[in-house]
């Protein structure tokens, strides 16, 4: 059993990587004539400065929690699900259609039904990619990328045509009735109870891989497929299941966006949550709680970006640079450790502790 103390080096290391990313991006800002102190103050203020900015940070991290967790399901099974984006669209779309079709019915029935339909749609898409991988021996990355296009363009067709809201200039569906939407935790913010769902899914994910036979089988296939097969695991079914679960959790990212923020399915509403989720899962070391922490970090960076560009006159793209540097430093331990070692050696040489 691992205790919290065992995770400490990892947490310290992640922190060190963030500090490094801030230092390097400060250097870049200085080079292009910006004031890094002003920029990061604004960034911090925008992410944590007030109740509203904190709510904004949390709400921006929700979709990343889901896509990050989704990716970890596949990753544990040794699969690279780059199809989170497509699964997210299909899931959100299916949920929207169910909710719009059942207008007038009680919310206690419609909401779970809508969410489950969306998860089922995302899950089927993921599972189908798994099936193609095992049966036709095509790499899942290729298949998943293709299905991303299919899912995005198919939903785009529907909201541009048959399901386009009446009189709307933008491609989007009718508004989903208020009763079916996630409740706001704080008024006048986008923070909804979807946050709780994200935390519940994280705990469930932890439990699933730690305690259940199916979770164990997925991990066994990911670690050593031959040994898993010899032990009695059905590789085809387990691969499909891992991809299917991954797809249904990815779908939740789309569902919570639509039912929590946009209140309708809008064409191309995701700015690549499915892809960012990959980085979130990798940085979170595939651990559900690490993924939640990373999603919060990314949420904070995104939510602070706006303030940064307003207050310090720095392009919000700079946040992308910071994000990229965090990923770089966390994903390449050798660089981070090397830099810290070099600094320490230098200090010792100068006789400072």
């Amino acid at each position: 059993m691992k205790r919290i103390a065992d995770y400490l080096p990892g947490i310290l290391y992640a922190f060190a990587a963030i500090v490094l990313a801030i230092l390097v991006s400060s250097g870049i800002m200085l080079l292009i004539g910006n004031d890094p102190l002003l920029a990061f103050t604004a960034l911090f203020d925008g992410a944590f400065g007030s109740v509203n900015s904190l709510a904004n940070t949390l709400s921006m991290s929700i979709p990343l929690m889901f896509t990050g967790l989704a990716f970890s399901y596949a990753m544990k099974g040794g699969l690279f699900n780059i199809g989170g984006e497509g699964q997210l669209y299909i899931g959100a779309f299916a949920s929207t259609v169910v909710a719009l079709a059942l207008q007038g019915a009680p919310a206690v029935i419609v909401m779970p039904l809508a969410i489950l339909s969306g998860m089922l749609a995302g899950g089927l898409l993921g599972g189908f990619i798994g099936l193609i991988k095992v049966k036709l021996r095509v790499h899942e990355v290729i298949v998943a990328i293709m299905f991303n296009y299919i899912a995005m363009l198919l939903t785009s067709y529907f909201v541009n045509g048959p399901l386009l809201a009446e009189g709307s200039m933008t491609p989007q569906t009718e508004r989903i009735p208020d009763a079916f939407l996630f409740t706001r935790i704080l008024p006048r913010t986008q923070l909804t109870t979807a946050l709780y769902l994200g935390l519940v899914v994280a705990v469930a994910t932890y439990f699933f891989f730690k305690k259940t036979r199916i979770g164990y089988n997925i991990r066994a296939v990911g670690e050593n497929p031959t040994a898993a097969k010899v032990s009695g695991v059905n590789i085809t079914a387990t691969t499909m299941l891992a991809m299917g679960l991954s797809g249904s959790v990815a779908a939740l990212a789309g569902i919570t966006e639509v039912f929590g923020k946009h209140d309708r399915f809008i064409d191309g509403f995701s700015p690549g949550f499915g892809f960012t989720g990959i980085a979130v899962a990798v940085l979170g070391n595939n651990n559900p709680f690490g993924i939640i922490a990373t999603a919060l970090l990314f949420g904070a960076l995104n939510s602070g970006a706006l303030r940064m560009s307003h207050a310090a006159g720095i392009s919000s793209s700079m946040v992308m640079v910071v994000q990229g540097l965090v990923i770089l430093f966390v994903a390449t331990p050798a660089i981070t450790r090397g830099i810290f070692k070099a600094v320490r050696v230098r200090r010792l040489a100068h006789g400072k502790p």
Partner: protein, 504 residues
């Protein structure tokens, strides 16, 4: 005058001392066997010499000059090469390409003709008979090893270190290798081979150095020692090679294989029964249907002809999981690939193959308490050396991993044990342990299917032995009715001439 001297070598891995002030000297032109049990520090010592590890203390002197070997490249410059236990070959490249890889002749464009001539000359010199254009993936294990040897020769090694070279070979390939070693000695090469097998040490070496628990026990002239003395030095106590197998009444038929065709081009089908309390041995040269037999019994491959019954119940069409539920213990021939999850902890590994048992998993939820308790008990009972059940499988030594697999598979209390090459790669203590375990299971009225390449094991443990040749069961007889010669003939696909030797 020794050509290589390693003096007072100490190598530590965190808090484990792998080599403790070991001194090791090799003279030019000799075959030197480095003998010791699993984990005695043999490989570590040689990896220091080959530049893969850096010693913490001690020095290496070559031809009277103190040297600093920091990498295999340095080692090759000093004329030292190494053939690893796990081959380091590129599977989809040809033999020639693999040999010259990293050391190609020619400036920008590789001079294939020149390279080929050099390699051909070397190959002919030692009678290697390797097809230089064959893809590595198409070669047998023995051939791959020859390619590895050619690689070291091509790089100009004068002294070659072999890390447990016979561990992966069939008996025939092993004897060919030993002959090759002698040839290489005649050409003036110096050979060090790491082993825990007494037979081959006695057969080819000039000198033998024994290590135990990371310490040097001594260096002896092979001619003036005996296997018994070496075994005692290696293990640290007297051990006996005789096994006490009691005659025993067998019970009901447990496993019945009826008319199963093992290989697509087998002449006939294969049928035999194993009763409770019986060890049924399967002999044969590797690749004659042993793999197919273990797979078809476990359900890893489908059974197209014939049927398989366990305790009278047909299992031919059952999934692997369903068969696992019937508690068949299975020790696969390739344990590293087929029986463990290297990076997962010991507890997780103990669940592998048990996850379909109701004792371990109730309504889909793993009962960790039961799992940990059972795993701990079994591992202790089988003397698996571990510090903490949270440590990863690959932190255990090879011998310990095998004991772990044995503890897990026997711990199920199965009616049938399928044991494939159960002593392969083990040291004397562990071999003795595995043999005793199998006999104890026989005492406890279990049925045991023992597939082994070691004839001595088959003769000592089995009640009856079947001989496989090209997927056909050549004969099934009580073990004492075979002689070494008659079984060898059957393994080569020939019947003994005697009319009174009847089959089945």
């Amino acid at each position: 005058m020794p050509s290589i001297e390693m003096r007072g070598i100490t190598k530590r891995f965190s808090n484990v001392v792998a080599n403790d002030e070991v001194t090791f000297c090799v003279s030019q032109g000799e075959i030197h066997s480095l003998l010791g049990e699993n984990g005695a520090g043999k490989s570590t010592l040689m990896k220091v010499l080959f530049g893969l590890y850096k010693q913490d203390e001690g020095e290496i002197i070559i031809d009277g000059r103190r040297v600093d070997i920091r990498s295999p490249r340095d080692a090759y410059h000093l004329g030292i090469g190494m053939v690893h236990q796990h081959f380091m070959l590129v599977n989809n490249m040809s033999v020639l390409e693999n040999i010259i890889l990293g050391n190609e002749q020619g400036n920008v464009v590789i001079d294939k003709q020149k390279n080929r001539e050099i390699v051909q000359r070397l190959s002919a010199l030692y009678n290697f008979e390797v097809d230089l254009d064959a893809k590595i993936s198409s070669l047998s294990v023995g051939m791959k090893q020859r390619v590895e040897i050619l690689k070291t020769l091509y790089r100009g090694a004068e002294m070659i270190i072999f890390d447990e070279p016979t561990a992966v070979l069939t008996p025939l390939e092993s004897s060919q290798l030993l002959a090759m070693l002698t040839d290489m000695k005649k050409q003036g090469k110096t050979i060090v081979f790491i082993t825990h097998k007494l037979g081959e040490t006695m057969a080819v070496s000039d000198k033998v150095t024994v290590l135990r628990g990371g310490k040097l026990v001594g260096t002896l002239d092979t001619a003036s020692t005996t296997p018994e003395e070496l075994a005692r030095l290696m293990v640290g106590r007297e051990i006996t090679f005789d096994i006490d197998k009691k005659t025993k009444q067998t019970g009901e038929v447990v496993l019945s294989v009826q008319g199963v065709k093992l290989m697509p081009n087998s002449q006939s089908t294969c049928s035999f029964d194993i009763r409770a309390g019986e060890v049924f041995g399967v002999a044969g040269v590797d690749g004659n249907g042993q793999q197919e037999l273990e797979e078809v019994v476990m359900g890893l491959t489908g059974c197209k002809t014939g049927r398989i019954l366990l305790n009278g119940k047909e299992i031919s069409s059952m999934s692997v999981a369903a068969r696992r539920k019937l508690k068949i213990g299975y020790i696969p021939s390739d344990r590293f690939k087929q029986a463990i999850l290297p990076r997962y902890n010991l507890t997780d590994n103990y669940l592998l193959g048990n996850q379909f048992s109701d004792d371990f998993v109730k309504r889909g939820i793993v009962s960790h308490k039961f799992l940990k308790k059972r795993a701990g008990e079994q591992m202790k009972g089988f003397d698996v050396r571990f510090a903490d059940d949270g440590q990863s499988m690959n932190s255990l030594s090879g011998g310990n991993q095998q004991k772990f697999v044995l503890s897990r598979e026997v711990g199920k209390n199965p009616a049938l044990i399928v044991a494939c090459q159960p002593v392969r790669g083990l040291d004397i203590n562990a071999i003795q342990f595995v043999r005793n375990t199998l006999l104890e299971l026989r005492e406890r009225n279990k049925a045991i299917l023992l597939i082994s390449a070691e004839l001595s094991d088959l003769f000592q443990l089995s009640d009856r032995i079947g001989v496989l040749y090209k997927g056909d069961l050549m004969a099934v007889r009580p073990a004492e009715q075979y002689t070494n010669e008659s079984i060898s003939l059957l393994m080569a696909g020939r019947e003994a001439g005697d009319a009174d030797e009847t089959d089945r």
